[in-house]
């Protein structure tokens, strides 16, 4: 499966990825609605947090709303979701998102749109064993 991989040392904090992600997922340019999150650390370096598609959220969901799609990406069935946010609290990578203006949890869907906007190659798609 293809996942978003990161090289944080290349990140310049432009947040183009966040804006793109928010547009793709929510048709909005609100960076807080992005599934990929850039956090500025001390000395002007950046952390990049994005789902690694590990799937640990899948057995946490009480209604089987979270599943692994055929291409390997972990997806959320919004119709089934009961908005308990257990997946947010139990994500080992803190990559399952909650944002108050979005109904239900959301996450990276491995679409790759963010990587295409990144000017430095700090994020990129890579094929990994699922």
């Amino acid at each position: 499966m293809k996942i978003v991989r990161t090289k944080p040392e290349l990140c310049i904090g432009c947040r183009a990825c966040e804006e793109t992600c928010s547009k793709v997922l929510h048709k909005d340019t609100n960076n807080e609605k992005s599934a990929i999150i850039i956090t500025e650390k001390e000395n002007s370096t950046f952390d990049i947090n994005v789902c690694n598609q590990c799937g640990e959220c899948i057995p946490i969901c009480p209604v089987e709303a979270i599943y692994r799609a055929k291409n390997g990406t972990v997806m959320i069935n919004k119709d089934k979701c009961v908005h308990c946010y257990a997946c947010v609290g139990f994500c080992p990578n803190l990559s399952m998102r909650y944002q108050k203006d979005v109904t239900g949890p959301f996450k990276c869907i491995s679409c790759g749109a963010c990587t295409r906007e990144c000017p430095t190659g700090a994020i990129f798609m890579e094929e990994v064993q699922g």
Binding site: P59, I60, C61, P62, V63, E64, K80, C81, V82, H83, C84, Y85, A86, V88, G89, F90, P92, Y98, K100, T103, G104
Partner: protein, 729 residues
């Protein structure tokens, strides 16, 4: 009765539905929940088949909040001083609280059930998980109030999708819950799709609930992974007996498309953030703390056995070399792990574990492989160690049959232990028991007694009356020593003890003795704080704990929450807080949640006050129904100290030391009987002093009666309440 006790997959659901005869149908206007409340109750009278919607008056909402508060208020209104459990005017009320049904904070799926108990003849309240309460609420009702008695077995179907209630006579279905819940879930669901099946929940009892006073209710939920119904129990006080006496075969609710905003809270963002915070805490800490997600409450067996608190052989002893055979090690293999075992959406504490594919060895379903919910700690201690049975699989089987027959494992365990001790002491014999050799450890005899309760025959019918009534019977009919039976019969107010040895914790003795409903630990669990950590050395300290904790714990039952996520998981830095036993951060979570859902200003102080109103009304209801005064807070000496020479001598060093260091008595040269008498005098006096101190702290007279001033302070000095109290002042 006609009882087709076949597995649900062998039954044609459509054909069976045709056997139902509709006797009443009621359509209602849909109503969305606003800030945690529907502000209306669904009232059903099974004598007249009247179905109506009762608005919840603003004053009732303000004073009694919800859940058990509504249950007690409705019972207060419905009953007369001479109302008995099997009178038509007795009610079964199932209510949630305002927070109940949120999907984001663990433990928000509880229902609170109240009725007049066939064991205690006063109000009993019992909490239970499963989906019924939330689905009923989201159908538009804060409470379901059932009065009257049907002529024939009925099913009440609340269709929250189509806004109607139907009462159907249902003559054919088996009443045993593992079959009935599965069957009715399929019968009333829109289709066999998982999402439709999980939109249905069933409340049911079982055969033994019809023949005993210890009947309980199973609340179902459909587990989408196991593809089966699971059952949670409103266990205490014989509610299932009342249910079957009203000829209710089942209550069924259907409500689809459950989402996280159906409570329409004032501040959904706050609810979600508070929930996520606790999810994360459970994720990070559960493995280092109680491991509820792995072992549920079974881990308590090991802890209680280690601290001499696990009841062994009718509470004579507090530990046993084989005690751990009932603990977590047994359930590493027996439980199915890795499933999201919450009994409502979003409960990540996930303690509702189950034993899959368990092959039954006795009874009508012998040879069948079944899913067994639990066992919980109380069942392991009650039906296991307390009866001298130290085989986890045997307790699993006992648990299964108690559940499907609709009886309470706590009362069953405690009464079985009592019967076994009576048998070993020669009070009972094979002639009386109809051949059952009820020695401690005889699991086959225990199971046969249980099956007799279901069949309505033999000694099981005697035992099913409960310890309180058995004591009287054994004294009157078999010449048993009344004083001995009073000492060893582990009941108070008519309710069997739950499964903790309280001999070395005065605060817990008081906790059991001063409960409104009878000796159940949900109101108090102070043993560790008192006995192990000695955090309440004075009577005043203990009285303060017996003021605070019962009120704090009562609040779960009026707000609509489960107690376990309060202190079976704790923030990592909780031990650094000023009062770690209160788990201050979680108390703040509850304050935040109440405000976030209802939009009302709230505080820790108001939390206690909400509870105190309900607690005191329940107390006055006990007075109205003939109990409630000091003499009913008396407890059996087995829960206070050693009754027999063997008990004393089994912990002789401890007791001798207490005589010497506390009482200044030199035990050397004294007989065990003399030492027991000295210890008993001291302990019994101490208990009475504790009652004096607790009553004072609670604002009650020395006879345990709330004062008019207390009722006025709480805002519940209604004329009829005051009139009742005045009779006892």
């Amino acid at each position: 009765m006609s009882c087709k006790c076949k597995k649900s997959e062998d039954i044609n659901v459509k054909d069976l539905r045709k056997s139902h005869k509709k006797i009443a149908e009621f359509s209602f206007e849909p109503k969305e929940i606003y800030r945690g409340y529907a502000d209306r109750t669904l009232y059903i009278n099974l004598s007249s088949n009247e179905v109506k919607i009762k608005p919840v008056p603003e004053d009732m909402k303000d004073k009694f909040t919800g859940g058990r508060g509504y249950g007690i208020k409705y019972l207060w209104d419905a009953t007369k001083p001479d109302t008995k459990w099997n009178d038509p005017e007795n009610e079964i009320i199932i209510a949630q609280g305002p927070i109940g049904g949120i999907t984001q904070y663990p433990g928000a799926g509880k229902s609170y059930v109240a009725t007049i108990s066939p064991l205690t003849d006063i109000a009993i309240d019992s909490n239970v998980g499963g989906y019924f309460g939330p689905l009923c609420k989201f159908s538009g009702f804060d409470a379901l109030e059932i009065q009257g008695k049907a002529g024939n077995d009925v099913i009440v179907f609340i269709d929250g999708d189509n806004n109607k209630v139907v009462i159907e006579e249902a003559p054919e279905e088996c009443v045993n819950s593992h079959i009935l819940a599965e069957l009715l879930t399929k019968m009333y669901a829109d289709s066999d799709a998982d999402d439709d099946l999980r939109s249905v929940s069933v409340v049911s009892a079982g055969q033994a609930a019809e023949n005993t006073r210890i009947g309980m209710l199973n609340f179902s939920y459909y587990d989408v992974r196991r593809k089966q119904c699971k059952l949670k129990q409103a266990g205490r006080g014989g509610i299932g007996t009342v249910f079957r006496d009203k000829k209710i075969k089942a209550l069924v609710v259907k409500k689809s498309n459950i989402k996280g905003d159906l409570n329409n809270p004032a501040d959904l963002d706050k609810v979600i953030k508070t929930g996520i915070k606790l999810h994360k805490e459970i994720h990070d800490n559960d493995d280092k703390q109680c491991r509820m997600r792995v072992f549920g409450t079974t881990q308590l067996v090991d802890a209680m056995n280690a601290h001499d608190l696990l009841p062994v052989k009718n509470f004579q002893y507090g530990s046993h070399p084989e005690g751990n055979k009932l603990g977590k090690e047994a359930f590493i293999n027996l439980f199915e792990h890795g499933l999201p075992d919450g009994c409502w959406y979003g409960c990540t504490l996930a303690c509702a574990h189950a034993v899959p594919g368990f092959e039954l060895k006795t009874g009508p379903y012998k040879g069948e492989k079944v899913l067994v919910d639990g066992p919980e700690y109380e069942t392991l201690a009650g039906c296991g160690s307390n009866c001298g049975i130290f085989d986890a699989e045997k307790v699993v089987e006992c648990n299964f049959y108690c559940d499907t027959y609709g009886i309470d494992t706590i009362s069953f365990g405690t009464l079985c232990a009592f019967v076994m001790e009576c048998y070993e002491r020669g009070i009972l014999n094979k002639e009386i028991t109809g051949g059952l050799e009820l020695n401690f450890g005889n699991w086959e005899a225990q199971m046969e007694m249980l099956h007799q309760m279901a069949r309505g025959e033999g000694f099981g019918m005697v035992a099913g009356q409960g310890v309180h009534r058995m004591k009287k019977l054994f004294i009157e009919q078999y010449g048993a020593d009344a004083k001995l039976l009073q000492d060893i019969g582990m009941e108070a107010k008519g309710l069997e003890y739950s499964e903790y040895v309280s001999k070395e914790s005065l605060a817990q003795q008081g906790g059991y003795g001063t409960t409104n409903k009878g000796p159940q630990h949900d109101e108090n669990w102070l043993i560790f704080l008192d006995m192990i950590r000695n955090l309440m050395p004075t009577f005043e300290d203990k009285a303060e704990a017996l003021y605070y904790f019962p009120l704090f714990r009562t609040w779960f039952s009026i707000a609509g929450l489960c107690k376990l996520p309060w202190n079976d998981i704790e923030p990592a830095d909780n031990h650094k807080q000023a009062e770690p036993a209160k788990v201050p951060e979680h108390v703040q979570n509850y304050v935040d949640l109440f405000t976030a859902v209802t939009g009302k200003p709230f505080s820790k102080e108001e939390l206690l006050r909400q509870s105190e109103r309900v607690y005191n009304l329940q107390k006055v209801l006990s007075l109205k129904l003939g109990k409630g005064t000091r003499k009913f807070d008396a407890i059996p000496y087995r829960s206070v100290g050693p009754v027999t020479v063997e008990e004393y001598e089994s912990r002789q060093d401890r007791y001798d030391k207490q005589l010497k260091e506390i009482l200044g008595i030199n035990p050397e040269g004294m007989s065990t009987e003399e030492k027991m008498a000295a210890l008993r005098k001291y302990r019994e006096e101490r208990y009475e002093t504790l009652l004096d101190t607790v009553y004072k702290r609670r604002g009650w007279t020395q006879n345990g009666v709330p004062t008019i001033e207390k009722l006025e302070e709480l805002g519940i000095a209604y004329p009829d309440v005051v009139e009742e109290v005045k009779k006892h002042l």
